[in-house]
């Protein structure tokens, strides 16, 4: 119970900080919108190609925005020794990781839910009403797996001078299975409306999420100890 309170307190701190600074929100909304516009413009002459590219474009926009968001989420902790002070307090390190993960995940999921109709409209994709729940579950699970890896590696690189360049280099090889499964599940739900196929990818996505979540939670304390 105390651990859950600590987790929620950490997540609440991040939400409150972001609500006041809006640093990550402005950057991610702007960046993801620009990404979708550029990709739509580049593929704009071929309607069929546009429809087929929509799942990939959506996840490219989400992935790059997710990196920005995760890197930004640790910057407030590093100012004025706030994280250093926090880590002297007697609460589990996993609560810190899971609290920050919760904040990052919900931000990414919200962004994904906002980008989905925009991407569908920009790329002219056909989405049946029955496929919408499947798409939302895909976004929730895809962003969860992505946020797990992004939050972990952002903590690992937070104190490094070259963190902006190192973070994507380190995390993208690990997060590729998540992105592939998420793109395939989105593709199945949007293109052919094959919900059964989408579910099989979603199950794979859930499996990756679980493995990554357990492993990163278990070893996170090593990342923050000096």
């Amino acid at each position: 119970m105390t651990d859950l309170k600590a987790l929620l307190a950490i997540a609440g701190k991040d939400f409150r900080s972001e609500a006041r600074s809006r640093a990550a929100t402005v950057a991610t909304v702007f960046f993801s919108s620009v990404t979708l516009v550029i990709l739509a413009f580049a593929l704009g002459r071929d309607a069929e190609l546009m429809r087929g590219a929509m799942p990939g474009a959506l996840w490219v926009a989400l992935a790059f925005s997710g990196v920005i968001s995760a890197a930004q989420s640790w910057q407030g902790d590093l100012q004025e020794g706030a994280l250093d002070q926090l880590l002297t307090l007697p609460f589990p390190r996993a609560a810190l990781f899971l609290g920050k993960l919760l904040a990052n995940w919900l931000s990414m999921t919200l962004l994904g839910a906002l980008l989905l109709p925009v991407a569908v409209a920009f790329f002219g994709a056909d989405v049946a009403a029955a496929a919408v729940p499947t798409l939302l579950v895909t976004i929730a699970l895809g962003t969860l797996g992505f946020a797990v890896i992004a939050t972990f590696y952002a903590a690992l690189t937070a104190n490094l001078q070259a963190r902006e360049s190192l973070l994507p280099v380190l995390m993208f090889p690990v997060v590729v299975p998540i992105l592939l499964a998420a793109v395939r599940a989105t593709e199945a739900a949007v293109g052919s409306g094959d919900i059964a196929l989408a579910r099989s990818w979603i199950e794979l996505l859930a499996g990756f999420d679980l493995v990554y979540l357990v492993v990163t939670s278990a070893i996170f304390h090593v990342v923050v100890e000096e």
Binding site: K13, S17, R20, T88, F91
Partner: protein, 236 residues
Amino acid sequence: MTEEAPAPQPATEDPTAAATERPLAVRLERVARRFGREQVLRGLSLRLPAGRIVALRGSNGSGKTTLLRLLATRLRPSSGRASVFGRDLVREAAAVRREVAYLAVHGGSYGTLTARENLRLACVLTGAPQDGVDAELARVGLSEHADRPVRVFSSGMKRRLGLARLALRDAALWLLDEPYASLDEEGRELVDDLLSRARARGRTVLIASHEPERLAGRIDASITIDRGVLLHGATE
């Protein structure tokens, strides 16, 4: 500073420890700490009895902050053994954190949160009751600023907020890193008051400070380190 073998320690590590039957709050045995090739603590041995207020002295770069951060579990010893109230700093770090409260030289507060939110966060994470937050804010003179974001605070106000956070915890060992820094006279009296409260509660305090005159009469002993080596310990 180049890497060197741990230096031998004086025979008298801390006379106050030998002279009493008190349990040990801090025990260091040939503790060294390196940052890359730079060796900051060099085989430091120290015994600090419980319930004492001890000044930690030394010039800039002597290793005072490193020692305090090590005892606060923010750094691991590169070699040697260290314990707080008999609990190993590395193997039982979580248990040590329950016994230790640390006032860092930096503010240690979140700038985007208000003063009240910073203290409430600390209460939730330490399990301390939140009903003392307003009283502590009043005690350190921040009641009027309780709902302002800490980023607009002066360094002295941030220091006062750190003192409030420290006092909210019922820790057995207080580690204070330059607590008088950035404070006006009223703020410095808050530190004096904090030390009086620590004494009244029987807390152990290790206080790094460059103000021996201010601490005179408020401490039981002092220890001095120089370039990571304990020079002497003396009862005052």
